[in-house]
Subunit: 234 residues, 2 copies
DNA sequence: TCGCGCCAGCTTCCATGCAAGTTTGCATGG
DNA sequence: CCATGCAAACTTGCATGGAAGCTGGCGCGA
Protein backbone atom coordinates (compact mmCIF):
# COMPACT_ATOMS: atom_id res chain seq x y z
CA UNK A 1 0.00 0.00 0.00
CA UNK A 2 2.62 2.47 1.07
CA UNK A 3 4.85 3.73 -1.67
CA UNK A 4 8.53 3.63 -0.85
CA UNK A 5 9.56 5.93 -3.68
CA UNK A 6 9.09 9.69 -3.85
CA UNK A 7 5.79 8.97 -5.55
CA UNK A 8 3.07 11.49 -6.25
CA UNK A 9 0.15 12.70 -4.23
CA UNK A 10 -3.28 11.08 -4.43
CA UNK A 11 -4.67 12.09 -7.80
CA UNK A 12 -3.50 15.64 -8.01
CA UNK A 13 -0.54 16.97 -9.94
CA UNK A 14 2.88 17.24 -8.38
CA UNK A 15 5.77 17.40 -10.72
CA UNK A 16 8.57 19.92 -10.47
CA UNK A 17 8.76 20.89 -14.10
CA UNK A 18 10.93 23.63 -15.49
CA UNK A 19 7.86 25.21 -17.05
CA UNK A 20 6.28 25.55 -13.62
CA UNK A 21 9.48 27.01 -12.25
CA UNK A 22 9.64 29.53 -15.06
CA UNK A 23 5.97 30.40 -14.61
CA UNK A 24 6.37 30.93 -10.89
CA UNK A 25 9.56 32.91 -11.24
CA UNK A 26 8.21 35.20 -13.93
CA UNK A 27 4.96 35.72 -12.06
CA UNK A 28 6.84 36.61 -8.92
CA UNK A 29 9.07 38.99 -10.86
CA UNK A 30 6.05 40.71 -12.35
CA UNK A 31 4.09 40.98 -9.10
CA UNK A 32 7.11 42.35 -7.29
CA UNK A 33 7.73 44.81 -10.11
CA UNK A 34 11.14 43.34 -10.83
CA UNK A 35 9.71 43.27 -14.31
CA UNK A 36 8.13 46.69 -14.52
CA UNK A 37 5.09 47.19 -16.74
CA UNK A 38 6.12 48.18 -20.22
CA UNK A 39 9.36 46.31 -19.88
CA UNK A 40 10.07 44.18 -22.85
CA UNK A 41 12.20 41.14 -22.33
CA UNK A 42 13.40 38.51 -24.71
CA UNK A 43 12.75 34.88 -23.94
CA UNK A 44 16.39 34.15 -24.50
CA UNK A 45 17.40 36.64 -21.83
CA UNK A 46 14.92 35.30 -19.28
CA UNK A 47 15.92 31.75 -20.06
CA UNK A 48 19.53 32.65 -19.45
CA UNK A 49 18.72 34.32 -16.17
CA UNK A 50 16.70 31.32 -14.99
CA UNK A 51 19.32 28.87 -16.14
CA UNK A 52 17.15 26.95 -18.55
CA UNK A 53 16.50 26.79 -22.24
CA UNK A 54 14.05 28.94 -24.20
CA UNK A 55 11.35 26.31 -24.43
CA UNK A 56 10.06 26.32 -20.84
CA UNK A 57 10.20 30.10 -20.74
CA UNK A 58 8.17 30.28 -23.92
CA UNK A 59 5.53 27.94 -22.54
CA UNK A 60 5.36 29.80 -19.26
CA UNK A 61 4.91 33.01 -21.22
CA UNK A 62 1.88 31.49 -22.91
CA UNK A 63 0.33 30.77 -19.54
CA UNK A 64 1.09 34.25 -18.28
CA UNK A 65 -0.48 35.70 -21.38
CA UNK A 66 -3.58 33.64 -20.69
CA UNK A 67 -3.53 35.18 -17.22
CA UNK A 68 -3.41 38.63 -18.75
CA UNK A 69 -0.13 39.55 -17.13
CA UNK A 70 1.98 39.75 -20.26
CA UNK A 71 1.56 39.87 -23.98
CA UNK A 72 3.69 37.78 -26.27
CA UNK A 73 4.37 39.92 -29.30
CA UNK A 74 4.79 37.80 -32.42
CA UNK A 75 8.45 38.39 -33.05
CA UNK A 76 9.41 41.07 -30.65
CA UNK A 77 9.45 39.60 -27.20
CA UNK A 78 7.43 39.50 -24.01
CA UNK A 79 5.72 42.70 -22.95
CA UNK A 80 4.72 43.16 -19.35
CA UNK A 81 1.16 44.44 -19.36
CA UNK A 82 0.42 47.86 -17.96
CA UNK A 83 -2.79 48.57 -16.10
CA UNK A 84 -4.93 51.57 -16.96
CA UNK A 85 -7.66 52.96 -14.69
CA UNK A 86 -10.08 51.52 -17.21
CA UNK A 87 -8.69 48.06 -16.45
CA UNK A 88 -9.14 48.57 -12.74
CA UNK A 89 -12.75 49.43 -13.36
CA UNK A 90 -13.24 46.23 -15.30
CA UNK A 91 -11.55 44.24 -12.59
CA UNK A 92 -13.69 45.78 -9.89
CA UNK A 93 -16.87 44.99 -11.77
CA UNK A 94 -15.84 41.36 -11.85
CA UNK A 95 -14.89 41.40 -8.18
CA UNK A 96 -18.13 43.07 -7.15
CA UNK A 97 -20.18 40.50 -8.97
CA UNK A 98 -18.28 37.40 -7.93
CA UNK A 99 -17.60 38.27 -4.34
CA UNK A 100 -21.24 39.06 -3.74
CA UNK A 101 -22.15 35.69 -5.16
CA UNK A 102 -19.46 33.98 -3.10
CA UNK A 103 -20.74 35.58 0.09
CA UNK A 104 -24.18 34.27 -0.74
CA UNK A 105 -22.75 30.80 -1.21
CA UNK A 106 -20.98 30.90 2.12
CA UNK A 107 -24.12 32.06 3.89
CA UNK A 108 -25.96 29.15 2.33
CA UNK A 109 -23.51 26.55 3.61
CA UNK A 110 -24.70 23.87 6.05
CA UNK A 111 -24.64 24.89 9.68
CA UNK A 112 -21.26 23.48 10.70
CA UNK A 113 -19.30 24.76 7.72
CA UNK A 114 -21.02 28.11 7.93
CA UNK A 115 -20.11 28.66 11.57
CA UNK A 116 -16.55 27.63 10.88
CA UNK A 117 -16.36 30.01 7.95
CA UNK A 118 -17.85 32.83 10.00
CA UNK A 119 -15.28 32.24 12.72
CA UNK A 120 -12.50 32.28 10.15
CA UNK A 121 -13.77 35.50 8.61
CA UNK A 122 -14.26 37.08 12.01
CA UNK A 123 -10.69 36.23 12.95
CA UNK A 124 -9.41 37.96 9.82
CA UNK A 125 -11.51 41.00 10.61
CA UNK A 126 -10.22 41.10 14.17
CA UNK A 127 -6.69 41.01 12.82
CA UNK A 128 -7.54 43.93 10.58
CA UNK A 129 -8.99 45.96 13.42
CA UNK A 130 -5.93 45.19 15.48
CA UNK A 131 -3.51 46.18 12.75
CA UNK A 132 -5.54 49.29 12.07
CA UNK A 133 -5.34 50.32 15.70
CA UNK A 134 -1.58 49.90 15.60
CA UNK A 135 -1.40 51.80 12.35
CA UNK A 136 0.31 48.85 10.73
CA UNK A 137 -0.87 49.17 7.15
CA UNK A 138 1.14 46.21 6.00
CA UNK A 139 -0.52 43.87 8.47
CA UNK A 140 -3.86 45.44 7.72
CA UNK A 141 -3.45 44.68 4.04
CA UNK A 142 -2.46 41.10 4.72
CA UNK A 143 -5.45 40.51 6.98
CA UNK A 144 -7.79 42.16 4.50
CA UNK A 145 -6.43 39.93 1.78
CA UNK A 146 -6.97 36.88 4.00
CA UNK A 147 -10.56 37.89 4.60
CA UNK A 148 -11.38 38.18 0.95
CA UNK A 149 -9.53 35.04 0.02
CA UNK A 150 -11.34 33.13 2.75
CA UNK A 151 -14.68 34.49 1.59
CA UNK A 152 -14.09 33.19 -1.90
CA UNK A 153 -12.53 29.90 -0.92
CA UNK A 154 -15.21 29.04 1.63
CA UNK A 155 -17.72 29.42 -1.16
CA UNK A 156 -16.13 26.32 -2.63
CA UNK A 157 -16.64 27.29 -6.27
CA UNK A 158 -13.33 26.37 -7.88
CA UNK A 159 -13.96 28.40 -10.98
CA UNK A 160 -14.70 31.47 -8.91
CA UNK A 161 -11.55 30.88 -6.91
CA UNK A 162 -9.52 30.68 -10.06
CA UNK A 163 -11.02 33.77 -11.64
CA UNK A 164 -10.54 35.82 -8.50
CA UNK A 165 -6.96 34.63 -8.29
CA UNK A 166 -6.39 35.85 -11.81
CA UNK A 167 -7.87 39.30 -11.35
CA UNK A 168 -6.14 39.66 -8.00
CA UNK A 169 -2.83 38.98 -9.68
CA UNK A 170 -3.63 41.49 -12.36
CA UNK A 171 -4.48 44.19 -9.85
CA UNK A 172 -1.74 43.32 -7.39
CA UNK A 173 0.41 46.34 -8.18
CA UNK A 174 -2.51 48.73 -7.89
CA UNK A 175 -3.38 47.21 -4.56
CA UNK A 176 0.14 47.64 -3.22
CA UNK A 177 0.02 51.24 -4.27
CA UNK A 178 -3.36 52.17 -2.87
CA UNK A 179 -2.65 50.45 0.40
CA UNK A 180 -0.54 53.41 1.50
CA UNK A 181 -3.30 55.85 0.74
CA UNK A 182 -5.98 54.11 2.73
CA UNK A 183 -7.89 56.28 5.11
CA UNK A 184 -11.03 54.23 5.49
CA UNK A 185 -9.79 51.33 7.51
CA UNK A 186 -12.60 51.51 10.03
CA UNK A 187 -15.27 51.53 7.38
CA UNK A 188 -13.86 48.35 5.90
CA UNK A 189 -13.77 46.64 9.26
CA UNK A 190 -17.37 47.57 9.95
CA UNK A 191 -18.47 46.32 6.54
CA UNK A 192 -16.61 43.07 7.04
CA UNK A 193 -18.39 42.55 10.32
CA UNK A 194 -21.74 43.03 8.64
CA UNK A 195 -20.81 40.36 6.11
CA UNK A 196 -19.72 38.00 8.88
CA UNK A 197 -22.95 38.55 10.79
CA UNK A 198 -25.05 37.84 7.74
CA UNK A 199 -23.08 34.65 7.10
CA UNK A 200 -23.49 33.57 10.69
CA UNK A 201 -27.22 34.23 10.52
CA UNK A 202 -27.46 32.29 7.25
CA UNK A 203 -28.79 35.43 5.63
CA UNK A 204 -27.74 34.77 2.05
CA UNK A 205 -29.31 37.86 0.54
CA UNK A 206 -27.83 40.06 3.24
CA UNK A 207 -24.38 38.57 2.85
CA UNK A 208 -24.57 39.13 -0.87
CA UNK A 209 -25.70 42.72 -0.44
CA UNK A 210 -23.13 43.60 2.19
CA UNK A 211 -20.21 42.02 0.30
CA UNK A 212 -21.30 43.81 -2.81
CA UNK A 213 -21.67 47.15 -1.09
CA UNK A 214 -18.29 46.75 0.51
CA UNK A 215 -16.56 46.26 -2.80
CA UNK A 216 -18.58 48.96 -4.49
CA UNK A 217 -17.54 51.48 -1.87
CA UNK A 218 -13.93 50.36 -2.12
CA UNK A 219 -14.10 50.78 -5.86
CA UNK A 220 -15.59 54.24 -5.67
CA UNK A 221 -12.99 55.24 -3.12
CA UNK A 222 -9.96 53.84 -4.88
CA UNK A 223 -10.62 54.52 -8.53
CA UNK A 224 -10.59 58.33 -8.19
CA UNK A 225 -7.47 57.98 -6.10
CA UNK A 226 -5.75 56.08 -8.87
CA UNK A 227 -6.86 58.51 -11.53
CA UNK A 228 -5.92 61.58 -9.55
CA UNK A 229 -2.60 60.04 -8.83
CA UNK A 230 -1.93 60.31 -12.51
CA UNK A 231 -1.67 56.63 -13.13
CA UNK A 232 -2.05 56.66 -16.84
CA UNK A 233 -0.62 53.21 -16.74
CA UNK A 234 0.57 51.16 -13.85
CA UNK B 1 -3.04 54.31 -46.19
CA UNK B 2 -4.00 51.03 -47.67
CA UNK B 3 -1.52 48.24 -47.12
CA UNK B 4 -0.78 46.21 -50.16
CA UNK B 5 0.68 43.30 -48.25
CA UNK B 6 -1.25 40.88 -46.02
CA UNK B 7 -0.17 43.10 -43.16
CA UNK B 8 -1.70 43.12 -39.74
CA UNK B 9 -4.72 44.87 -38.33
CA UNK B 10 -4.55 48.17 -36.46
CA UNK B 11 -2.94 47.31 -33.13
CA UNK B 12 -4.41 43.91 -32.55
CA UNK B 13 -2.86 40.57 -33.34
CA UNK B 14 -3.29 38.84 -36.64
CA UNK B 15 -0.77 36.24 -37.49
CA UNK B 16 -1.65 32.84 -38.76
CA UNK B 17 0.53 30.78 -36.50
CA UNK B 18 0.46 27.04 -36.29
CA UNK B 19 -0.18 27.26 -32.56
CA UNK B 20 -3.36 29.23 -33.24
CA UNK B 21 -4.40 26.71 -35.86
CA UNK B 22 -3.83 23.85 -33.46
CA UNK B 23 -5.71 25.66 -30.71
CA UNK B 24 -8.68 26.38 -32.92
CA UNK B 25 -8.77 22.90 -34.38
CA UNK B 26 -8.56 21.17 -31.03
CA UNK B 27 -11.15 23.46 -29.51
CA UNK B 28 -13.51 22.80 -32.37
CA UNK B 29 -12.94 19.08 -32.05
CA UNK B 30 -13.73 19.19 -28.35
CA UNK B 31 -16.82 21.39 -28.67
CA UNK B 32 -18.20 19.22 -31.43
CA UNK B 33 -17.47 16.09 -29.42
CA UNK B 34 -15.10 14.76 -32.04
CA UNK B 35 -12.89 14.44 -29.03
CA UNK B 36 -15.26 12.92 -26.51
CA UNK B 37 -14.74 13.67 -22.83
CA UNK B 38 -12.50 11.10 -21.24
CA UNK B 39 -10.72 10.51 -24.50
CA UNK B 40 -7.01 10.49 -24.11
CA UNK B 41 -4.96 11.53 -27.09
CA UNK B 42 -1.25 11.78 -27.59
CA UNK B 43 0.26 15.01 -28.82
CA UNK B 44 2.12 13.11 -31.46
CA UNK B 45 -1.11 11.70 -32.85
CA UNK B 46 -2.86 15.06 -32.94
CA UNK B 47 0.20 16.64 -34.50
CA UNK B 48 0.17 14.01 -37.20
CA UNK B 49 -3.52 14.54 -37.84
CA UNK B 50 -3.08 18.30 -38.12
CA UNK B 51 0.01 17.95 -40.24
CA UNK B 52 2.39 19.76 -37.94
CA UNK B 53 5.01 18.92 -35.38
CA UNK B 54 4.46 18.29 -31.68
CA UNK B 55 5.56 21.72 -30.54
CA UNK B 56 2.55 23.79 -31.64
CA UNK B 57 0.18 21.08 -30.46
CA UNK B 58 1.84 21.06 -27.08
CA UNK B 59 1.56 24.83 -26.74
CA UNK B 60 -2.05 24.79 -27.82
CA UNK B 61 -2.71 22.10 -25.22
CA UNK B 62 -1.35 24.41 -22.55
CA UNK B 63 -3.81 27.09 -23.60
CA UNK B 64 -6.68 24.63 -23.64
CA UNK B 65 -5.71 23.46 -20.19
CA UNK B 66 -5.80 27.05 -19.01
CA UNK B 67 -9.31 27.19 -20.48
CA UNK B 68 -10.27 24.14 -18.45
CA UNK B 69 -11.14 22.08 -21.49
CA UNK B 70 -8.36 19.51 -21.21
CA UNK B 71 -5.80 18.31 -18.75
CA UNK B 72 -2.25 17.69 -19.79
CA UNK B 73 -1.08 14.66 -17.87
CA UNK B 74 2.66 14.74 -17.29
CA UNK B 75 3.76 11.85 -19.43
CA UNK B 76 0.53 10.27 -20.48
CA UNK B 77 -1.11 12.54 -22.97
CA UNK B 78 -3.97 14.98 -23.24
CA UNK B 79 -7.18 14.16 -21.41
CA UNK B 80 -10.42 15.76 -22.54
CA UNK B 81 -12.16 17.05 -19.42
CA UNK B 82 -15.51 15.64 -18.46
CA UNK B 83 -18.18 17.79 -16.88
CA UNK B 84 -19.98 16.70 -13.72
CA UNK B 85 -23.27 18.23 -12.50
CA UNK B 86 -21.16 19.82 -9.80
CA UNK B 87 -19.20 21.66 -12.49
CA UNK B 88 -22.38 22.91 -14.08
CA UNK B 89 -23.44 24.30 -10.76
CA UNK B 90 -20.17 26.16 -10.44
CA UNK B 91 -20.47 27.49 -13.95
CA UNK B 92 -24.01 28.69 -13.36
CA UNK B 93 -23.00 30.54 -10.23
CA UNK B 94 -20.41 32.41 -12.23
CA UNK B 95 -22.88 33.13 -15.01
CA UNK B 96 -25.56 34.32 -12.62
CA UNK B 97 -23.18 36.74 -10.97
CA UNK B 98 -21.52 38.11 -14.10
CA UNK B 99 -24.53 38.35 -16.33
CA UNK B 100 -26.44 40.27 -13.71
CA UNK B 101 -23.55 42.67 -13.44
CA UNK B 102 -23.29 42.95 -17.21
CA UNK B 103 -26.98 43.78 -17.52
CA UNK B 104 -26.49 46.52 -14.98
CA UNK B 105 -23.60 47.90 -17.01
CA UNK B 106 -25.64 47.92 -20.19
CA UNK B 107 -28.53 49.69 -18.46
CA UNK B 108 -26.06 52.30 -17.27
CA UNK B 109 -24.74 53.07 -20.75
CA UNK B 110 -25.19 56.55 -22.22
CA UNK B 111 -28.50 57.10 -23.99
CA UNK B 112 -27.46 56.36 -27.56
CA UNK B 113 -25.51 53.19 -26.84
CA UNK B 114 -28.21 51.97 -24.50
CA UNK B 115 -31.00 52.34 -27.06
CA UNK B 116 -28.89 50.62 -29.65
CA UNK B 117 -28.14 47.79 -27.25
CA UNK B 118 -31.80 47.47 -26.32
CA UNK B 119 -32.75 47.27 -29.98
CA UNK B 120 -30.13 44.60 -30.55
CA UNK B 121 -31.33 42.58 -27.57
CA UNK B 122 -34.96 43.01 -28.58
CA UNK B 123 -34.15 41.71 -32.04
CA UNK B 124 -32.56 38.61 -30.58
CA UNK B 125 -35.60 38.07 -28.39
CA UNK B 126 -37.94 38.47 -31.34
CA UNK B 127 -35.94 35.88 -33.20
CA UNK B 128 -36.32 33.55 -30.24
CA UNK B 129 -40.07 34.05 -30.07
CA UNK B 130 -40.29 33.45 -33.78
CA UNK B 131 -38.22 30.27 -33.65
CA UNK B 132 -40.19 29.10 -30.64
CA UNK B 133 -43.47 29.58 -32.49
CA UNK B 134 -42.10 27.51 -35.36
CA UNK B 135 -40.85 24.88 -32.95
CA UNK B 136 -37.36 25.31 -34.35
CA UNK B 137 -35.24 24.52 -31.32
CA UNK B 138 -32.01 24.95 -33.22
CA UNK B 139 -32.83 28.49 -34.24
CA UNK B 140 -34.15 29.20 -30.77
CA UNK B 141 -30.86 28.14 -29.26
CA UNK B 142 -28.87 30.28 -31.65
CA UNK B 143 -30.98 33.35 -30.97
CA UNK B 144 -30.81 32.75 -27.23
CA UNK B 145 -27.06 32.49 -27.48
CA UNK B 146 -26.94 35.74 -29.44
CA UNK B 147 -28.99 37.49 -26.78
CA UNK B 148 -26.70 36.46 -23.98
CA UNK B 149 -23.56 37.19 -25.94
CA UNK B 150 -24.87 40.62 -26.85
CA UNK B 151 -25.79 41.31 -23.25
CA UNK B 152 -22.23 40.61 -22.15
CA UNK B 153 -20.50 42.31 -25.05
CA UNK B 154 -22.57 45.47 -24.84
CA UNK B 155 -21.43 45.76 -21.26
CA UNK B 156 -18.00 46.42 -22.68
CA UNK B 157 -16.05 44.74 -19.90
CA UNK B 158 -13.39 42.78 -21.73
CA UNK B 159 -12.54 40.63 -18.75
CA UNK B 160 -16.16 39.68 -18.30
CA UNK B 161 -16.42 38.86 -21.98
CA UNK B 162 -13.41 36.63 -21.75
CA UNK B 163 -14.57 34.82 -18.64
CA UNK B 164 -18.01 34.22 -20.05
CA UNK B 165 -16.47 32.92 -23.24
CA UNK B 166 -14.47 30.46 -21.20
CA UNK B 167 -17.35 29.12 -19.14
CA UNK B 168 -19.57 28.99 -22.20
CA UNK B 169 -17.00 26.82 -23.93
CA UNK B 170 -16.81 24.60 -20.90
CA UNK B 171 -20.56 24.14 -20.74
CA UNK B 172 -21.11 23.95 -24.48
CA UNK B 173 -21.80 20.23 -24.55
CA UNK B 174 -24.28 20.45 -21.69
CA UNK B 175 -26.05 23.24 -23.50
CA UNK B 176 -26.33 21.25 -26.70
CA UNK B 177 -27.83 18.44 -24.71
CA UNK B 178 -30.35 20.38 -22.67
CA UNK B 179 -31.51 22.31 -25.70
CA UNK B 180 -33.57 19.34 -26.80
CA UNK B 181 -35.27 19.04 -23.45
CA UNK B 182 -36.41 22.62 -23.24
CA UNK B 183 -40.03 23.14 -22.43
CA UNK B 184 -39.90 26.66 -21.07
CA UNK B 185 -39.23 28.67 -24.17
CA UNK B 186 -41.98 31.18 -23.48
CA UNK B 187 -40.76 31.86 -19.98
CA UNK B 188 -37.30 32.68 -21.32
CA UNK B 189 -38.69 35.03 -23.93
CA UNK B 190 -40.76 36.85 -21.33
CA UNK B 191 -37.78 37.19 -19.03
CA UNK B 192 -35.62 38.48 -21.85
CA UNK B 193 -38.21 41.12 -22.59
CA UNK B 194 -38.16 42.25 -19.00
CA UNK B 195 -34.40 42.64 -19.20
CA UNK B 196 -34.67 44.61 -22.42
CA UNK B 197 -37.31 46.89 -20.94
CA UNK B 198 -35.17 47.62 -17.91
CA UNK B 199 -32.20 48.39 -20.13
CA UNK B 200 -34.30 50.69 -22.28
CA UNK B 201 -35.58 52.48 -19.20
CA UNK B 202 -32.05 52.82 -17.86
CA UNK B 203 -33.16 50.84 -14.81
CA UNK B 204 -29.82 49.37 -13.76
CA UNK B 205 -31.04 47.63 -10.64
CA UNK B 206 -34.00 46.15 -12.48
CA UNK B 207 -31.84 44.92 -15.34
CA UNK B 208 -29.49 43.31 -12.87
CA UNK B 209 -32.34 41.65 -11.01
CA UNK B 210 -34.13 40.38 -14.09
CA UNK B 211 -30.98 39.01 -15.72
CA UNK B 212 -30.09 37.33 -12.48
CA UNK B 213 -33.52 35.82 -12.01
CA UNK B 214 -33.54 34.59 -15.56
CA UNK B 215 -30.31 32.68 -15.12
CA UNK B 216 -31.28 31.43 -11.69
CA UNK B 217 -34.50 29.96 -13.04
CA UNK B 218 -32.65 28.43 -15.97
CA UNK B 219 -30.18 26.91 -13.56
CA UNK B 220 -32.87 25.46 -11.31
CA UNK B 221 -34.67 24.08 -14.32
CA UNK B 222 -31.69 22.55 -16.06
CA UNK B 223 -29.59 21.19 -13.24
CA UNK B 224 -32.17 18.63 -12.09
CA UNK B 225 -32.66 17.68 -15.71
CA UNK B 226 -28.97 16.95 -16.07
CA UNK B 227 -28.81 15.00 -12.85
CA UNK B 228 -31.94 12.96 -13.54
CA UNK B 229 -30.63 12.23 -16.96
CA UNK B 230 -27.89 10.34 -15.28
CA UNK B 231 -25.08 12.52 -16.46
CA UNK B 232 -22.43 11.42 -14.07
CA UNK B 233 -20.00 12.97 -16.43
CA UNK B 234 -20.56 14.70 -19.70
C1' DT C 1 18.50 68.55 -45.03
C1' DC C 2 15.15 65.04 -45.66
C1' DG C 3 13.18 60.82 -47.40
C1' DC C 4 13.70 56.12 -48.82
C1' DG C 5 15.43 51.63 -49.32
C1' DC C 6 18.49 48.11 -47.95
C1' DC C 7 21.08 45.32 -44.88
C1' DA C 8 22.51 43.44 -40.48
C1' DG C 9 21.20 41.82 -36.18
C1' DC C 10 17.97 40.21 -33.08
C1' DT C 11 13.74 37.77 -31.98
C1' DT C 12 10.40 34.20 -32.09
C1' DC C 13 8.46 29.99 -34.56
C1' DC C 14 8.69 25.43 -35.36
C1' DA C 15 10.98 20.82 -36.25
C1' DT C 16 13.60 17.41 -34.38
C1' DG C 17 16.75 14.75 -31.23
C1' DC C 18 17.70 12.81 -26.90
C1' DA C 19 16.59 11.52 -22.28
C1' DA C 20 13.54 10.31 -18.61
C1' DG C 21 9.23 8.48 -16.95
C1' DT C 22 5.02 5.65 -17.49
C1' DT C 23 2.40 1.94 -19.17
C1' DT C 24 1.49 -2.47 -21.01
C1' DG C 25 2.19 -7.11 -22.29
C1' DC C 26 4.52 -11.24 -21.54
C1' DA C 27 7.08 -14.62 -19.31
C1' DT C 28 7.96 -16.78 -15.09
C1' DG C 29 7.23 -18.70 -10.58
C1' DG C 30 4.11 -19.80 -6.86
C1' DC D 1 -5.00 -19.81 -12.25
C1' DC D 2 -3.01 -15.68 -10.43
C1' DA D 3 0.58 -12.57 -8.88
C1' DT D 4 4.93 -10.52 -9.90
C1' DG D 5 8.88 -8.70 -12.25
C1' DC D 6 10.99 -7.26 -16.37
C1' DA D 7 11.52 -5.33 -20.77
C1' DA D 8 10.01 -2.97 -24.77
C1' DA D 9 7.20 0.51 -26.64
C1' DC D 10 5.35 4.85 -26.11
C1' DT D 11 4.79 9.25 -24.09
C1' DT D 12 6.14 13.92 -22.92
C1' DG D 13 10.02 17.33 -21.14
C1' DC D 14 13.43 19.99 -22.71
C1' DA D 15 17.43 21.55 -25.68
C1' DT D 16 18.94 23.14 -29.87
C1' DG D 17 19.28 24.48 -34.83
C1' DG D 18 17.48 26.40 -38.99
C1' DA D 19 14.19 29.63 -41.01
C1' DA D 20 11.29 33.60 -41.33
C1' DG D 21 10.05 38.11 -39.75
C1' DC D 22 10.56 42.52 -37.48
C1' DT D 23 13.39 46.63 -36.16
C1' DG D 24 16.57 50.05 -36.53
C1' DG D 25 20.54 52.17 -38.51
C1' DC D 26 23.22 53.47 -42.40
C1' DG D 27 24.02 55.18 -46.87
C1' DC D 28 22.36 56.97 -51.10
C1' DG D 29 19.79 60.10 -53.87
C1' DA D 30 16.96 64.30 -54.36
Amino acid sequence: MARSKPARSEDGEKRPSLVDDAYAAMKRAILSSDFAPGYQASEQEIALRLGMSRTPVHEAAIRLQEDGLVRVLPRRGILICALAPEDMREIYDVIVALEGQAAELVAGLPEADRIEAAADLAACTDAMADAGARGDLQAWGTADESFHRALIERGGNRRMIRIMQTVNDQSHRARMLTLRLRQELDASVAEHRRIVEAVRASDAAGAHRHARQHRLRARDTLLPLLEDFGLRHL
